[in-house]
Symmetry: C2
Subunit: 124 residues, 2 copies
DNA sequence: TTCCTATTGACAACCGTTGTCAATAGTGAT
DNA sequence: ATCACTATTGACAACGGTTGTCAATAGGAA
């Protein structure tokens, strides 16, 4: 399974790798299409998925919203503003006084936390 | 805005409220349709959403999967087995030795944690 | 019973994402 | 350069889960 460096992959990699805004596939597409007008959204999806499988990006599956792609690989969480859609990083250490810490750090008032761990159950 | 007690709402409430299995709307529909054959999936969605807005159920938005409805209102998290789809509760207190705790508690080996807090940003 | 309107069921549409497949374009060998 | 091979692409359609729409139905107070 040979690996090929296409214009499309390179453009997507360099954009997503340097982006700090947690872009969605749509976001990436709207940017890349300016320089590669005939690129397809399908290809953006394919390459973003490939890059996240390779560990170059991290795919963030946002409940009730499009996936976002994150170039920051260090473990951290995210906050989504339910009013304006702003999506920011949170780096936290201890969970105890987390909510107050978050409010101190960035002014967000948390209205919901939905955590879903993923894993393999004892049978697998 | 008067409130009406329909057969459909009552059936959905009593099933979901007593269920311990985090049913999806489909799950609820497949059960209720046995006793109310002409109920529609649309109505199941509507009433599950209504019940979770009223705080009677908790809606869990699972990334890349259908929403689940939880009758356990105490704060807790969930684990989804990526192999068999089993979906279980986790009650945790401190985050520090969380992963080892989880493994001790229920044998799950965590392969991913995607946390998205929701809130209002300082502008709102 | 009557009337009002909340709720329903049928249906279509939505969004984000992936499947399919023939056409295209990297890449390594000649 | 040219070739042949096949990974990748772009088109298009389809998917799954959920919600919008709207005329028909059925609670519930008078």
């Amino acid at each position: 399974m040979e690996r090929r460096n296409t214009r499309q992959l390179e453009a997507i990699r360099s954009y997503a790798e340097h982006s700090k805004s947690h872009p969605t596939a749509e976001d990436v597409y709207r940017e890349i299409v300016k320089t590669i007008p005939d690129i397809s959204l399908r290809t953006v999806y394919r390459n973003l998925n490939k890059l996240s499988e390779e560990g170059i990006l991290r795919k963030i599956q946002v409940p009730n919203g499009p996936d976002r792609f994150d170039s920051t690989l260090e473990p951290h969480q995210h906050i989504l503003c339910t009013e304006c859609g702003e999506f920011i990083d949170v780096f936290m250490n201890n969970e105890e006084r987390l909510l107050e810490e978050i409010k101190d750090l960035c002014g967000y008032e948390i209205t919901g936390i939905d955590v879903v761990y993923r894993g393999r159950c004892p049978k697998h």
